[in-house]
């Protein structure tokens, strides 16, 4: 028990260190915000054009809200830790292997910190900005305070879930030594099925049943639908349970892959 507490403190310290690194590059934050605001505006312009000709069953304000929240937390979905990639590629990972830690836990703490701080730094100014936009373009208020609370909880679970996914990609990178192949494929799946390109709410109803059960929908789609009220409060328990279930499964897979990796290691260079 004592031991467990102490190692929890260790992973906490790693988390804080990585979180702090993320705050070092203000320029990257500014660049990211500008880029994501631009994407948000373009996407909304497209949906407005679509709605002008052929209104969908969802209110336009629900769509603009969906787009803004997706763009605000974009960093959570697509951003690999460049330091980790570099470590694997150059073999500096050798140092991490001779620490009295679980490699899975070590990297999980780092990924979580990077995604958390990276997206928070970008999301706060973007949300502020999006709230101030004129009607028809804006980020609308949450369905209710309770919905807001559920959405926040779902976002935290989504963060844990996406970090577990990323750690699986890392485990594969460790084998192939080059992340590009796996990443390109994962990114395509991620962009499509997380609702980043096209809100999942706009997919045909039959598709929805499958798509919303996939792990990608647990990252941002579930929290956003709770926020907008697309998922009623009564459903919140079920939604959070699906999210948590996927998170546990993905952590299990990742931890297994890392344990196997550790047994068959070849460190690059010397």
């Amino acid at each position: 028990m004592m031991n467990r507490m102490r190692s929890f403190r260790t992973y906490g310290a790693i988390f804080r260190m990585r979180r702090r690194m993320e705050t070092q590059y203000r320029g990257a934050v500014l660049g990211g915000v500008i880029c994501q605001v631009f994407f948000g505006l373009v996407l909304i312009a497209v949906y407005r054009a679509l709605y002008a000709g052929n209104p969908q069953h969802m209110a336009l304000s629900a769509i603009t809200t969906y787009v803004w929240l997706q763009q605000a937390f974009f960093r959570m979905l697509l951003a690999s830790d460049p330091d980790l990639m570099e470590k694997i590629r150059t073999g500096a990972i050798a140092y991490d292997l001779c620490r009295p830690l679980s490699l899975y836990g070590y990297y999980y703490a780092r990924i979580l910190a990077q995604k958390w701080m990276g997206s928070l730094l970008r999301a706060l100014p973007m949300i502020l900005l999006a709230i101030l936009l004129p009607p028809g373009w804006e980020l609308a208020a949450p369905a209710s305070w309770a919905a807001m609370g559920c959405a926040a909880a779902a976002l935290l679970i989504g963060l844990c879930c996406v970090s577990a996914m990323e750690n699986i990609t890392m485990a594969f990178t460790m084998r192939t030594l080059d992340p590009r192949g796996v990443q390109a494929m994962m990114n395509l799946l991620m962009m499509t099925f997380s609702g980043n390109i096209l809100p999942l709410t706009l997919f045909p109803d039959r598709w929805q049943r499958v798509i919303t059960l996939m792990p990608y929908a647990q990252l941002l789609d579930a929290p956003i639908r709770l926020y907008t009220g697309e998922y009623a409060l009564g459903e919140a328990g079920r939604i959070l349970a699906i999210q948590a279930g996927w998170t546990v499964i993905l952590i299990g897979i990742g931890a297994y892959l890392w344990r196997r990796n550790q047994r068959r290691l070849i460190i690059q260079g010397g």
Binding site: R6, R9, T10, A13, I14, M17, R20, M21, Q24, D83, T90, G91, A92, A94, Y95, L97, C98, R99, P100, L101, R263, L265, I266, I267, G269, G270
Partner: protein, 321 residues
């Protein structure tokens, strides 16, 4: 039982080569990084581990630090099997890979140390005492608030050493710690290692290509080549085997020519200097000097031993490495 026990260690790597025309699969090639390597190291020893590139030195270090699992053979460090009891084992060792960094690039080095303190669960009081000792010995006091990226290579290596030692390991692996350092930094580093070894009795296993590291620090060396252990013993004895030649550098008052140098010596000219390499066993130094005096008015001359790098190069050649 010795502190480090290694018995018949074997490790092979499989390398997949490029597929040739007509081949369905990429052909495999097995490379033996270690073949039946055995040795023992006692607590408090400072052992040099040398051999040409690709000899298996780093593989040994990685196996002993619990990163790699050998194919066969036994090893224990202070009673623990590195790859089987990894977590317990790595708590008690420190590792420095000269070409890699363990500290965080963008934050002051003090903060990287604080994180390592958490990782190794070093108690606050012990940490303060140890850091006081290390910062003084490694002259890091003024650098503690500087981010790693702003440090010079020599400063960085000192910081890396501090990071590897702050949990007071009983065994330290150094993999080419002086690579790329200037003369002053090398000397500081060597002095520090000696201090750490004597003061705390830390056992040190040092791999390097810098023979001065070895001559300055280690009384015992192990030579590895093609994955086999070729020599294990006193450094002086090893050198004596190959140290059969002397070099004389001579200058004359006037231009000399047509000198009959003794059979079997090599003569080169470099400006005014005559550089003569000979084996005292075949041509006694007295005879050599007599011949040199006959040749003309000798202004000055020095007799030097072969430089250590040449000896090692000769040794590798003779061992066909």
């Amino acid at each position: 039982m010795a502190f480090i026990e290694v018995e018949n260690l074997n490790k092979q790597f499989i390398i997949r080569k490029k597929r040739e025309k007509g081949q369905l699969m990429r052909p495999k090639e097995e490379i033996s990084a270690l073949r039946e390597v055995s040795f023992q190291v006692n607590q408090g020893e400072l052992v040099g581990y040398i051999g040409p590139n690709g000899a298996g030195k780093s593989t040994t270090v990685k196996i002993l630090s619990g990163i790699l699992t050998p194919d066969s053979g036994r090893a224990s460090v202070d009673g623990l099997v590195p790859w089987a009891d990894r977590k317990a084992h790595v708590r008690r060792i420190g590792v420095v890979f000269g070409q890699r960094s363990q500290l965080w690039w963008d934050v002051p080095i003090a903060d990287s140390f604080a994180l390592l303190k958490e990782i190794y669960h070093v108690p606050e009081a012990a940490y303060q005492a140890r850091m006081g000792e290390l910062t003084e010995a490694l002259q890091l006091g003024d650098l503690m608030r500087t981010p790693l990226r702003l440090l010079s290579l020599g400063q960085r290596m000192r910081a890396e050493l501090c990071g590897s030692l702050l949990h007071s390991p009983s065994l330290l692996f150094l993999d080419e710690p002086t690579i790329g350092l200037d003369a002053v930094s090398k000397l500081t580093l060597r002095e520090f290692l000696q201090w750490e070894n004597r003061q705390r009795g830390t056992t040190i296993l040092l791999t390097t290509h810098d023979m001065e590291d070895i001559t300055a620090l280690c009384s015992r060396v192990m030579v590895l080549g093609h994955g086999r252990k070729l020599y294990d013993g006193e450094l002086t004895e090893l050198l004596a085997r190959y140290d059969t030649e002397r070099i004389i550098t001579a200058r004359y008052e006037e231009e000399i020519s047509g000198t009959a140098w003794p059979e079997g010596c090599q003569v080169r000219r470099n400006g005014e200097n005559w550089i003569i390499t000979y084996a005292p066993e075949k041509i006694p130094t007295a005879e050599m000097m007599a011949r040199m005096q006959q040749a003309g008015h000798l202004r000055e001359c020095t007799v030097q031993p072969q430089n250590v790098d040449r000896l090692i190069a000769r040794m590798y050649q003779e061992m066909e490495l």
